[in-house]
Symmetry: D2
Subunit: 306 residues, 4 copies
């Protein structure tokens, strides 16, 4: 089987290479544009702890919105499902409506994987953590079993410098009372968690816990209950891919999350977690090569959940 996974990744690598000039790198903040656009990497880890990889699977990149899953997992591990009184679990429709939807739903974001929802999660983390930025990073390092993972302060600063729409969202949430702490403090944590840099290997290592009922595979230590893990996976399935959640459900058929840094991570419950990365994005903001790689993976393994 180990041989099988490796050969599947290698054939995927060969098949996605022709796409390496398709799409465009995110440039809404200058720091994100400073990347080797044509890179591709992929890493798969099974719940038994076996690793398979191709391409630049050890190269660090900005995980961006993928970090929202970590923030959600952390807050659920501390306060449980009561966080879902402040943020929903339903998909959000087009981003066009985000502000009016927030108004209509009285400041309760549709789900924790859109920006507004992640800000509420950050606000809740500030409640719970002594040193929110340090403690969040410690949590991610522990999940990925890599103490070198860190924030990219230039990216965080760049997000802040150009993040007026996010500042609008945070102030709007505050006006509804769904942000308790200082808006600047919440945004500072939010911009930092988005700036975390990880490799495909790091991401696959971290997400394998969601494929393993919420337990650390190496130690069987429980971080999340089975029910909590199921909740997180369901949220990823229905809300993880911006305006392409339905498409991803079809083409890949696994719960996962993407980021505008070009990373995508997905998991097959009870089997494995897999991360792919390539910076060029399609029109909906998801990695071109990454999406294709995951589609090929489930096709070749026959492992879509549908």
């Amino acid at each position: 089987m180990s041989h099988h996974y490796q050969s599947v990744l290698e054939s995927i690598h060969a098949e996605v290479l022709p796409l390496q000039s398709d799409g465009a790198v995110a440039n809404y903040i200058p720091e994100l544009a400073k990347v080797n656009a044509n890179t591709f990497g992929m890493h798969l880890r099974t719940i038994e702890g076996l690793d398979y990889s191709v391409g630049s699977s050890n190269e660090l990149f900005s995980i961006q919105s993928i970090s929202k899953v970590f923030a959600l997992a952390l807050v659920v591990s501390i306060v449980g499902e009561k966080i879902f009184k402040r943020v929903g679990v339903e998909p959000s429709g087009s981003s066009f409506n985000s502000l009016v939807q927030l108004e209509y739903e009285k400041g309760i974001p549709r789900n924790p994987l859109i920006n507004a929802g992640a800000m509420v999660v950050c606000d809740a983390l500030i409640d719970q953590l002594d040193k929110p930025k340090k403690d969040f990073l410690g949590f991610v390092r522990r999940l990925a079993q890599n103490k070198k993972i860190g924030y990219n302060e230039r990216v965080a600063a760049s997000e802040k410098e150009y993040g007026f729409r996010n500042a609008a969202l945070a102030n709007f949430l505050k006006s509804f009372g769904n942000i308790r702490h200082d808006v600047d403090e919440v945004l500072d944590l939010y911009f930092h968690i988005c700036s975390v840099e990880m490799s495909c290997k790091d991401l696959a290592n971290a997400f394998v816990l969601f494929a393993n009922h919420g337990k650390f595979p190496s130690t069987n230590e429980v971080l999340l209950t089975k029910s909590q893990t199921k909740r997180l996976n369901a949220v990823m399935q229905t809300c993880g891919f911006y305006d392409e959640a339905g498409e991803f459900s079809f083409t890949v058929g696994l719960p996962g999350k993407s980021g505008v840094g070009g990373g995508i991570v997905a998991l097959h419950p009870h089997r494995y977690a897999v991360a792919a990365w390539s910076p060029r994005l399609n029109a909906k903001g998801n990695s071109v090569m990454g999406m294709k790689a995951l589609e090929l993976l489930t096709t070749k393994l026959g492992s879509s959940i549908f």
Copy 2:
């Protein structure tokens, strides 16, 4: 195993009974309100053709929106995936935004399981079918292997009489050119397909094809390709439960579809299809007992896909 399924259904029946007074029967059209509110039925059919049932599993009820899956399956079986040029596959956010979302997206409904999307599907069916109403019914009868299935003309007439919001949607779609036929003709088909009456047994029989790669289990005859079936299942997973798709993904974790008549049908790929029915609805328009029954089913069977 047959014994196992049956005992699971029986324990579910016992557990949902205390909920039989919770929720309220849909009354937006008078005909729907004429139902025995406290009824419950459930039927499970495996892809091997084994049947298990409890309660009023043979009683006919108005399948309402569940019919949108049949319409979609029929149009895909005829014209293939090109229907998705006229209707999307993404979840739709709150119903509040439906008209403005349709305007923003220039008349392309978000998915085929919301009213606007089903109307586009009906319009496409009128293109393809000689006698749309008769042919659609023939298709449903063939799927469910029951020639007695029929429309409830009083329900269809009632839908039309009170269906001004649907008429608004259809005209709005027409103004964008995404309805080709006469608005009244499209609405007539739409209101009829919603009025189909089936039992839990009929629905489970019909949906088992989606659990069986698109093939009729009894004959192995192919109606839909594997890819088409995967597409339908993915659409059900992300769009099948009004504003509770995320909640259903979590609590049940299977692709499915509900209707305001109180029916819910779901399927576990490669294993079974299951239908539950009880007329009282929760605030989001899904059957109270039906939702609970399916949640208990996947809990007891350990068969959520997450």
Copy 3:
């Protein structure tokens, strides 16, 4: 003074002529496009009954939305201000939001000069009139003192054939219960009143009543109370020019109403009514030469109300 008005109109005529190729004729319905695009006419009538005119002031054209003022005046003359329980008196913001605004405000249109508001007025007229289409026409003929005024049935039919957005609005209103009669009946009246053909002279004659406290100038017969007339004039001032009400308030400074047929009519309380017509429209749907002509009129006469 009579000499003065005539010379002012003549100088205006000379000044607007260079604009006769600017803008584009409305073509959303084919019938409206069949017009001599470069025509211009203007007619001013004082409350004393003196007439002044230039250009094609006797040529008939489709008055379109100007007719909404007649419908409103007629319903107010019959049922009084209680019509304003079913339709507001506030401006409507951009047309983009019309449907969502109607939803937010539970089916009460913002004002009677937008399409949805005029439909509610038509519905109320059907309540009150024996033969709505005939009686409405009789009312307009009486206001304009011209028994030859009529509907253009080809325009009315064309409006209906392409009027799916209006049909969507009417059905949406019906879903809120703010249309009582059959949707098709309301739309038929609505499309007919929009198809009325009048000349600049007819329009000035008809609107002089609004400049004369609601009394017919020739007979002093009272159609509307002073208060009702003030209400109509205020509604025209704030809502009469689509998305250019503010611009018109500034450049012209008189209450008035425009139509996509290229007509504009305005009035100076206690002094005169004036109509201008030229079919080419600016980007906001108002006549290019007509807007300029009225701007020049109030500049030359110093008669803006501001």
Copy 4:
């Protein structure tokens, strides 16, 4: 005539007194709630410089949104009408849509008298003024000929402390590039101009310039051109009363502006300016007694422009 105005004000005073318990004081910021709720004052100044007053016409109150007219007048007096490239002159529909409207119109606020528009004006003032807060105050003092007019720093601080929706708007504008300066700097000026305290006498004195073609009545010095003054008056007419602009156009029929502090100021071109104040507001945010007082004024004087 002077006797006439005085007796009219006195009869108005008597007629509005029974309303002194109607409505509720604005309490969205605590500082505003600290006011004697039942107070009423009114002051009218003619362009000839004659003054008439009743009640607490010399008592200071928070002018709030009325200040937006001063900000607009100041920026127009400096940069002219080019400010209208950054902010429109059209009414805005319901406040519900403010954010989505701003998105649809790409960051160009509908008019300078809504919050977003006033922020753009503040941003433009920061461009032009050495010491924006000091210079703005100097301008208001000069208009009102009262050097004692000042900011209420507690109100400004309170606005800031609770102004998250305004902060959301400002950041949203910044994301579209329609705010050039630092968001906090713009908000600081915005919150300060809203905190200005004036009496009815001060307001009438200041607004008489808009009734006098833009010239200071006492010196005939020109601040605004006739055209600029007409523009301001037209903007006040169509946009000055939140969601009650149409109602005010009808009941009062004069250009004006209200504030949530309970102040209302209006002007009759070429005749007078008048201010009324009473803190209790109706459901649309306008002073109950103030609205009634102005309605009675134009009824008694027969001076509506309609």
